[in-house]
Each structure stands twice: as C-alpha cells, then as structure tokens.
C-alpha cells in the first residue's frame, strides 16, 4: 500500500495547481462585473455592520422609551424610533443578525442534504438514482411552503425548527444540480484512476468528485441564500417566524407595514435594507455564475 499512497499525492499535485489558476481566472472575471463587485462589497459592509453594530450603539434592541414613542429620524436616533420608542437602527442591525443567521444556517442545512443526496444519486446511478430522483420530482410538486406554515403554527415558533424546516424545503434544486454534475464527472479518467487505485466510494465521492463540482455548488448556494431569507421574512410577515422582542427584517417589515400610515420610516428603512441585501446576493450569484461559467441546467 506504500506505493499506492505515494502515487495519489503525485497525481494530485497537478490538478491542484490547475485548480488554483482556474479560480484565479474566475476571480478576475468576477472583478470585471461591476454589479457583482458592488454586491460583494455591500454584503461585506452589511455583515460587518450587523455583527459589530449593535455593540457600538448607545441603545439596546429591546430598550423602550415610552415617553418618546415613535419619532422621525433625528440626531439622537438616526433612523427614528418605533411606537415603543425603541431605536430603529439598532433593531435593524440586530434583526439583520437574525435574518443573516437564518439565511446561512438554513442554507447550510439545504446544502448538506442536497449535495449528499445528489452526489449519492449521481454516483451510484441506475435503479437507486431513478428512485431517488423520482422522489425529488414528486417533492418538487408538493406545496412545501404550506407545510412550513403548518409546522410553524403547530410546533411553536422555534428558531431551530425554522432552520430545519426551511432547509428541508430548499435542497431539491441543489440535489438536481449536483447529481447531473456528478454523473458527468464520474465518467472521467481521473475517477477511473482513483478507482483502480482501490479507493473507497466515500473517498472518491468526497475527495475526488465533489471538489470538481464546487463551482456550481458555490453559485447555487449564493442563489439559495436570498430564497431562504425571503421564506423567513415571509413567515415572519405572517407572524409565524421570529418572535418579539427578537427582531428580524421580516418582523420589522411586518411592524412597519402595520404602522406605515403615520410612521412611514418604520417600513421604508427595513424594506430598503432587506431589498439591498437580496439585490447584492442576487448580483453576486449571477456574477459568480458567469465567472465560473456554470450553465444553468434544468435537471
């Protein structure tokens, strides 16, 4: 086995170097896309603000000032206050933490399920693949948003459940994409080489095939995050997502929509912040798709 273990390192040395230049190419292409670069910077700024911002503020997110009530943007409260006198900027940044966290965690759940499922179906092929993908077809036609609503109503509005429920809905597309990529890659010679070296299936799938599917995975992960965040905000808007006094962008938009007649800033700022984030993610995702030259495949 000594010779077998020395061989792969020599074999692997080259693809890694090529891979690097491939990624550098993609990075250069991405930098030429102004909208994608804008999206990337906007996301970095928004994330830093949401993570660090609440610590630097003078007010707490649940700190009420009932004497003040709702006030328009001013020097003391840059984005104004809500009807309980809570500072909107702090609540916005704090809500951003929750929204971004839901976006990332639920996407991670979707990513894990989708990639594993798609890789297994694509790698083993045959009957197993037919059954697994037929199941995905069937699940595609189910009214999943309805089930998420039922879950949230019936089993309490628990944030962990929210991650899992949303993630369980959003993995289907990822599974399809990974499967079709894996099917194409598993026929290539370097996989045959790995097989003839006696590597196990798990090692071949995770060490040899999946790294080569990384491009499409990154692109669709970026494009899944906005979908997930929308679903969270949608649930929160219906009163089923994140519960007060915690806030998320969906919660703030819901509150704002209820009071917009008298206090329009309560709707405008959260709406703008949320939309800007979704814009940035979509721009970045589109840019990545072009830069990594991922063809949008239907199945």
């Amino acid at each position: 086995m000594a010779s077998a273990s020395s061989l792969p390192s020599a074999v692997l040395a080259e693809p890694i170097e090529q891979g690097n230049s491939l990624w550098r190419d993609a990075w250069l292409r991405l930098q030429k896309n102004k909208l994608a670069v804008f999206g990337l910077w906007a996301l970095i700024v928004i994330t830093v603000l949401c993570v660090a911002g609440p610590w630097l503020m003078r007010y707490g997110y649940e700190e009420q000032n009932l004497d003040l009530g709702a006030s328009a943007p001013s020097g003391a409260h840059w984005l104004g206050t809500d009807t309980l006198g809570r500072d909107l900027l702090v609540r916005l940044l704090y809500g951003g933490r929750v929204s971004l966290a839901v976006g990332l965690c639920a996407t991670f759940v979707a990513l894990t399920i989708g990639v594993t499922y798609g890789a297994v179906a694509g790698f083993f092929g045959g009957k197993l693949d037919a059954v697994m993908m037929r199941a995905v077809d069937i699940m595609y036609s189910l009214p999943f948003a309805i089930f998420v609503i039922l879950l949230m109503v019936f089993f309490g509005r628990n944030i962990i459940l929210l991650f899992v429920a949303i993630g369980a809905v959003e993995w289907l597309t990822m599974a399809r994409i990974v499967r079709s990529q894996v099917m194409a890659i598993k026929k290539m010679e370097f996989i045959e080489a790995a097989r003839s070296l006696g590597f196990g299936r798990r090692r071949i799938i995770f060490r040899h095939i999946l790294p080569n599917v990384l491009g499409p995975i990154i692109v669709y992960t970026t494009l899944t995050i906005p979908g997930v965040m929308l679903l969270e905000a949608f649930l929160s808007f219906l009163g089923l997502g994140v519960q007060p006094p915690m806030s998320s962008w969906g919660v703030l938009i819901k509150d704002g929509a209820e009071k917009m007649e008298e206090f329009p800033w309560l709707l405008v700022f959260p709406g703008a912040m949320f939309s800007l984030t979704l814009f940035s993610l979509n721009f970045l995702g589109d840019g990545l798709r072009d830069a990594l030259d991922v063809r949008s495949s239907k199945d």
Binding site: S141, P143, A145, F155, A233, L238, M260, L267, F279
Partner: protein, 305 residues
C-alpha cells in the same frame, strides 16, 4: 404521448395521496385540539363533541373514514364554524382566490414576456438595461415590501385606490399588480435568456433571409422555442402565486382561501386545514401536469426522455 401523460398522472395521484396522509397524521399529532380553546366545555360536552365528529374512534378508523368521504368529494364538517362544511367554506372563498391568482398570472405573463422580448431584441441598449433592471428589482424586492409601499403611495397619499378590500373592480388593481409583478420579473429574465439563445440559430437566419419582418421572426419563429423556459417555470410560478396570495390577502384584506388557511391552522380546525391543503395540492399538481404536457408538446426531446 398517452403513456407519458398516464405515467405523470399516476405520479401526481401518488403524490396527492402522500400529501393527504402526511397532513392527516401531522394535524392529529399536534399538541392542542380544536376544542381546547373553549373554556366552558365540560368533560361530558367534550365527549359528545368528539363523538359527534368521530374523534373518539381509533386513529386508523378516522383515517379510513376520511379517505372514504373524500372519495365521495366530501371534505367533512368544519370544527370551528358550527353547521358549516369545509366544502361550503372553500366554495365561498375559492372564487376570490382563483380570480386573484388568474389576474396576477395574466399580469405576470403579459408584462414578463413583453419586457423579456423587448430586452432580447434590443440587446445591450438602454431598453435592455431597463428591462433587466426591472427583472432584478422584481426578484429582490419581496411582495410584502412592494405591497405596503404601493398602498402608501397610491392609496393613502394619492387616493386613487382603496387601501384594502375586495368590492369594486378598482380594488383588484393593486393586489393583482403586486402579486403579478413579483412573477413578471423572473418570467422576463427567462424570456430574455430563452429568446437570445434561439435568435442565434440558423432557422432564424433563414427566416430573415426569406424577408420575414422582424416582428414576424420574433412572434412566429423565435417565441415558440424561446418560451420553453417560461413554460417550465409556470408550475413553480403558480405554486408561488398560490402561497404568495397568503401575504397579498393579508395585506389587502382579501377574503380568499389563503387567509382562511392561516386562520384555520391557528384554530386547529383539522378538517378545514386538511381540506385547504388537499385543494392546494390538487391544484398545483393539476397545473404541473398541464405544464408537463405542454412542454412535451412544444419540445419533442422531453417526450423521449
């Protein structure tokens, strides 16, 4: 073709059966029942209530009973609205939601295909940038932000429309526009992409060489193939419009199925929840089936797969 339709139909039936079963058992295993909220209920009355609705039978018996009456098209009595059946309630609300959905879909298709086509034939001009910008905007700004903002601007400030309600034809404008815009955006992107791919192909050059007008080339030759991505998006889009109507019906106080569904879930009105889910699932599957057939008709490659 017939084999294709039959196999898809059977697949839909199986999926529908799974939905019914999953929902039936999910609502039963949920903490809290439909009568727990009513404090005045004594144990005897509760027993009578449960006997009346058949809730005292074993679970598998209830399940079979439900399937039996479902086969006869009976969705059972509502637990929360005494003396009303789920069929009556849904019969009241469905026309409203159907109208909202159909009009929104019409807005989405007309706007989306129109803008997408314009963007494709005037590629890389300001028209393309405006249309593509619209596409990105529509995807990134959710309905529950656009809706309230339009209400604020056009109803409250300008006073052109009522802020909510569903009485006059003018009341239809804002809800259908907001819901339609959300789906016009992806449709315009798909149309643009699909058309651009087709417009490069040889048969288009042939049509042009034969002297067909640009209008004819696009409408007669390119759109049929160029709209394939749009057709396959119609399944998810109608499903999205259905669930999107939850938000729209809440914002605009439209008395449709969506609002009823969320309420019935809160009320633990088992039969109404089940009935609504079955209705939605059947609707979505019927539409998906129609989309599959349309796709097979438009694109022979799908039939052979």
């Amino acid at each position: 073709m017939l084999r294709f339709i039959t196999s898809r139909f059977l697949q839909s039936l199986l999926a529908l059966f799974l939905v019914i079963t999953a929902t039936f058992f999910m609502v039963r295993f949920v903490p809290g029942g439909p009568f727990t909220a009513e404090k005045a209920v004594t144990p005897e009355i509760l027993k009578n209530l449960e006997a009346h609705y058949g809730l005292n039978k074993p679970l598998w018996r209830q399940y079979l009973d439900y399937l039996g009456s479902l086969a006869r098209g009976d969705l059972g009595p509502s637990f929360k609205y005494p003396n009303r059946t789920v069929n009556e309630i849904l019969g009241d609300k469905l026309p409203v939601s159907a109208e909202l959905g159909a009009e929104s879909l019409a807005v989405a298709l007309v706007l989306g295909i129109g803008l997408g086509t314009l963007a494709a034939i005037r590629r890389n001009t300001w028209i393309d940038y405006v249309a593509s910008g619209f596409g990105m905007t529509g995807i990134s700004i959710p309905t529950f932000v656009v809706g309230p903002l339009l209400v604020l601007a056009l109803a409250i400030k300008a006073g052109w429309f009522n802020a909510s309600g569903w009485y006059t034809p003018a009341d239809r404008v804002l809800p259908c526009l907001v819901l339609g815009l959300a789906y016009a955006a992806p449709i315009s992107r798909l149309t643009r992409g699909g058309l651009l791919e087709i417009l490069h192909q040889d048969f288009i050059r042939t049509a042009r060489a034969k002297g067909a007008s640009e209008f004819r080339v696009v409408t007669r030759h390119a759109l049929r193939g160029g709209l394939l991505p749009v057709v396959s998006f119609l399944g998810p889009a109608t499903a999205g419009i259905l669930t999107g109507s939850f938000v729209i019906e809440t914002i605009f106080q439209v008395p449709g199925v969506g609002r009823e569904f969320v309420n019935s879930a809160f009320n633990r009105d088992y039969t109404l929840v089940l009935g609504t889910v079955i209705l939605y699932a059947a609707l979505i599957m019927a539409l998906n089936l129609a989309v599959d057939v349309a796709q097979a008709w438009m694109n022979p490659k799908v039939r052979l797969e």
